[in-house]
């Protein structure tokens, strides 16, 4: 067991896979010699050399296109898009190329690659460097989408993503990079498409992703301490494939459902999960599912304003308590 930061876990996860498979290569902007603008890939160039760990020009289309071409011909590329907001300038690859090539070619082409990207708010960077855009990717048939909330999951899901034969968009949360967590020694390989119970409970199910997971857990502890309400927090982890069995299983135990989403409300991931829960778990519900999200506005830069707009521990706790009081 070792205590690692989330950013150290990123480098360890990539290193684990590069050491295992010589066909894994890694490239992006400022990722090699500088070690990444978030310092999440420090040391990889020293360990694996400049042939496997490469700095790219500011050319997001070239980066993702090259990753695709390398993947379809036999390599297993990991490409970095520095800020997830920049997915917008290379969205053709995310929306049209990676996920469609296998289907359109009637199974002839493959696209086993990982795009890792810094997602989410908390750095006070404003509306173009702070967004949570996992829902942009979730809606596209052919992609897989994961967003780990802790160092151990970073390593395990990175390994699963690299070994997966489909294109995987891997959302790292920028505000979690400094967060520490216990990580077992040795190889860690997780499974895509599995949610995990971050905190067991019996009174309500709270679904959360990435940075919202520690906030939901803190809200659950507050509700327990102050009101005796015992919430189960489910870390969704993987949006595609989506582990509805774990989510519906939790609902069957608690009979109430809340989501905590950093993405803006419209078409956020919680909307899809709630719709499935209503269709398939309607008679388990003792009250309406309630979504706790960032409102449908661009993110402001000022710290005071950003703090007001993201779901906070207090807002989560208050909303759940009022929802249960009905």
């Amino acid at each position: 067991m070792a205590e690692l930061t989330y950013r150290e876990a990123v480098a360890r996860g990539i290193a684990q896979e590069m050491a295992r498979d010589p066909d894994v290569i890694f490239f992006g902007e400022d990722v090699a010699k500088p070690g990444g603008v978030f310092k999440a890939t420090v040391g990889l160039i020293d360990q694996f050399g400049p042939k496997r760990v490469r700095d790219c020009p500011i050319s997001e289309q070239a980066i993702l296109g090259a990753a695709m071409g390398a993947a379809m011909t036999g390599l297993k590329p990991i490409a970095e898009i520095m800020f997830s907001d920049f997915i917008a300038v290379c969205f053709d690859y995310i929306a049209n190329e990676f996920p469609k090539s296998r289907y359109m070619s009637n199974g002839q082409l493959k696209c086993p690659l990982v795009v890792r990207t810094g997602n989410g708010a908390g750095s006070r960077f404003g509306a173009q460097h702070s967004q949570s855009v996992e829902n942009w990717c979730m809606m596209i048939p052919g992609l897989k989408v994961v967003a780990p909330s802790n160092p151990r999951d970073v390593i395990g899901l990175m390994a699963a993503a690299v070994r997966d034969p489909d294109p995987v968009i891997f959302f790292e949360h920028k505000t979690l990079y400094a967060v520490k967590g216990e990580v077992p020694d040795g190889e860690i390989v997780d499974t895509l498409g599995t949610a995990s119970i971050a905190r067991p409970g019996k009174d309500a199910t709270i679904l959360a992703l990435a940075m919202m997971v520690p906030r939901a857990v803190a809200a659950a502890e507050k509700l327990k301490a102050e009101h005796g309400i015992d919430c189960e927090v489910v870390d969704v982890r993987s949006l595609v494939p989506l582990d509805m069995q774990t989510i519906l299983g939790s609902l069957t135990r608690t009979h109430r459902l809340f989501t905590v989403e950093e993405n803006p409300r419209l078409c956020g991931w919680g909307a899809e999960i709630v719709s499935i829960a209503v269709e398939e778990g309607f008679y388990e519900l003792d009250g309406p599912p309630i979504r706790i999200t960032t409102p449908h506005v661009p993110l402001p830069a000022a710290d005071t304003l950003e703090d007001m707009i993201l779901p906070t521990v207090d807002r989560i706790a208050d909303t759940v308590r009022r929802g249960l009081e009905g």
């Binding site: 290569i25 042939k51 490469r54 790219c56 020009p57 050319s59 289309q61 070239a62 980066i63 993702l64 296109g65 090259a66 990753a67 695709m68 071409g69 390398a70 993947a71 379809m72 011909t73 036999g74 390599l75 590329p77 053709d92 690859y93 049209n96 190329e97 090539s101 296998r102 289907y103 359109m104 070619s105 009637n106 199974g107 002839q108 082409l109 493959k110 086993p112 048939p141 052919g142 897989k144 997966d164 034969p165 489909d166 498409g193 595609v240 494939p241 989506l242 582990d243 509805m244 069995q245 499935i276």
Partner: protein, 344 residues
């Protein structure tokens, strides 16, 4: 063609030395003819409402596909655009597979799941046809990166139109390929029109690819794309450079499409007489004359004519008899496990 004779290869490259040889010349001729006949047939089938969706023909541009494909090794990889029938056929993909896909039948190359704009045949090195302008230039870079990384001497060959030179991915890919010295050959087919608009009206330079080469520290290469011999020689030189580890090339091939941009386009925007003038420089009669010039047996040429025509007729019959795609394939191959499941 005033513009075409401006090629740097000029008369010398067209010279009378017989460096190409009869076997390759007959192959160049046959490939051009297969494309011409298949594309004409595709147009006829469209008029009969048997080709569905859209289609973008390469009538008049056959020499480029034939010249490059004839210089490629089987392990080299082609990346095409939505105007990709020619490049797919040139790598040896059967005509019935291509027409079947255009007709959206079960015998099509991708069983109707891709359509005219996405022809793909991995076994022939055709790594896809891309319908988003510019998307495949970076993808070709990635295939070249794999070849470089593995120490293979395969070349990635990326075909695109003049209009592509004005999209960002073109410039990103050129810079990327040069900086990483990738074995990729970028082939611009300049047919003078982006879609409906003349390329010179929307481009800062006269030669949309050639005049941009200097910005990427590449040689300016502008050739007569209607002369298969010139195309073939240029391709050989670019492939040799790529295989030697000297990096990418950017080649502008001057040509003209005899049809409109797509099947919906009668091309009424073209000035009167322009098409007729270019038809005087039609690659296929030009090449028949070339074969004669080199004393290649006319009987052998006529046997190719007959064989190709017969083969196309048979292919059309095969396609007409083929059923629509099996509905079973609808939910297949979304993910690598063969299915489409996104949840448990």
């Amino acid at each position: 063609m005033a513009q075409n004779t401006a090629s740097p290869q000029g008369a010398d490259a067209r010279g009378m030395n017989d460096d190409i040889g009869e076997e390759v010349r007959l192959r160049l001729y046959r490939t051009q003819l297969v494309i011409r006949e298949a594309e004409q047939k595709a147009f006829e089938l469209f008029l009969q409402n048997l080709v569905k969706g859209t289609s973008h023909l390469s009538l008049g541009q056959e020499a480029i596909a034939a010249g490059f494909a004839s210089a490629m090794r089987p392990s080299d990889l082609s990346f095409c655009t939505y105007r990709g029938h020619a490049h797919t056929l040139a790598r040896g993909v059967a005509v019935d597979k291509v027409l079947g896909e255009l007709m959206q039948r079960d015998n099509g190359l991708m069983r109707g799941k891709g359509g005219s704009m996405h022809l793909t045949s991995v076994e022939h090195g055709v790594m896809g046809s891309y319908a988003i302008i510019g998307a495949h230039l970076p993808i070709a870079c990635g295939a070249a990166l794999r070849a470089q990384y593995k120490g293979a001497d395969d070349v990635a060959v990326c075909f695109f139109g003049d209009g592509t030179t004005n999209i960002g991915a073109f410039h990103e890919a050129l810079n990327f390929a040069v900086v990483w010295k990738l074995p990729v050959v970028f082939v611009c087919e300049n047919n003078l029109y982006m879609e409906y608009t003349p390329i010179h009206e929307v481009t800062a330079v006269k030669h949309p690819a050639g005049d941009r080469a200097a910005a990427y520290n590449l040689d300016r290469i502008v050739i007569d794309g209607n002369d298969a011999d010139i195309v073939y020689r240029t391709a050989q030189a670019a492939f040799a450079r790529a295989r030697a580890g000297a990096g990418p090339s950017l080649i502008e091939c001057l040509t003209y499409r005899h049809s409109g941009h797509s099947r919906a386009d009668p091309a009424t925007y073209r000035p009167k007489g322009e098409l007729e003038k270019w038809k005087e420089h039609d690659p296929i009669p030009l090449y028949r004359a070339r074969l004669k010039q080199f004393g290649i047996d006319e009987g052998a040429v006529m046997r190719i004519d007959d064989e190709v025509k017969q083969m196309i007729e048979t292919a059309v019959e095969t396609c007409k008899a083929a059923p629509p795609p099996d509905p079973d394939i609808l939910f297949k191959d979304v993910y690598a496990d063969g299915g489409w499941a996104w949840r448990n």
